[in-house]
């Protein structure tokens, strides 16, 4: 399946300014699978992934949440609005 991953704030900075990329995952992949794939693909994210929440199609999702083909996943580092 194809997923679109969005990077914000400190995550984007760690990736040198990359704000989004497309990833291919196996059918049935979960948020945890995506996280592992990102850790392998981007060593610069090590140590940071444990501090981010994931949002799938604009809703917070846990590690076991399934992904669908075409979904949009955002890495949400600790928020600081207001």
């Amino acid at each position: 399946m194809h997923v679109r991953v969005l990077y914000f704030a400190i995550v984007r900075d760690r990736l040198g300014g990359v704000s989004e990329e497309a990833l291919e995952l196996d059918e049935g992949a979960t948020v945890a699978d995506l996280s592992a794939a990102l850790e392998a693909r981007h060593p610069a994210l090590s140590g940071l992934l444990s501090k981010v929440r994931f949002a799938v199609d604009e809703a917070f999702a846990g590690a076991d949440a399934p992904l669908r083909d075409g979904c949009e996943v955002a890495l949400i580092p600790p928020v600081s609005g207001g």
Partner: protein
């Protein structure tokens, strides 16, 4: 008649605009919260702040917070506008307005709104100092 206003904008916020969104003859009290950029943070002088947002999700979560308030304090109406971009000291980053038939619910709803916004809305603030910058909330 007032509509729903839960927005992320990249322009100065009009407090009147946010108040107008919660207007109505049934409301006896309206409480607003305004978040502004301070001149110092943890002992360092702030040059300016930079806010960014995952805008579609931020607006969705702001609206959900409004729904939470209406559920917990029936009869209230909430509006929230948050600004993104570069903000100078003294500028307004967020305005929240909660209107209610009576003042107690307006105060409680408005407090709830800012606390919840700081928990879950995907907006991030970077403090820029004379000698560096850092994303808020990342710890030591």
């Amino acid at each position: 008649m007032a509509g729903r206003l839960f927005a992320v904008v990249d322009r100065p916020i009009s407090v009147i605009e946010v108040l107008d969104a919660v207007g109505g003859d049934g409301f006896g009290g309206t409480v607003t919260f305004t978040g502004t950029v301070r001149d110092c943070s943890r002992g360092r002088d702030v040059a300016h702040l930079e806010y960014e947002a995952y805008v579609p999700m931020a607006e969705r979560v702001l609206a959900r917070i409004g729904d939470e308030i209406a559920e917990q304090w029936p009869g209230t109406r909430t509006a929230i506008v948050h600004r993104v971009g570069t903000l100078a000291v003294g500028e307004t980053a967020v305005v929240i307005a909660v209107a209610a038939p009576h003042r107690a619910e307006a105060f409680e709803g408005c407090r709830h709104a800012i606390e919840r916004l700081k928990e879950d809305v995907p907006i991030w603030k970077r403090e820029v100092f004379a000698d560096g910058s850092e994303w808020v909330g990342m710890g030591p």
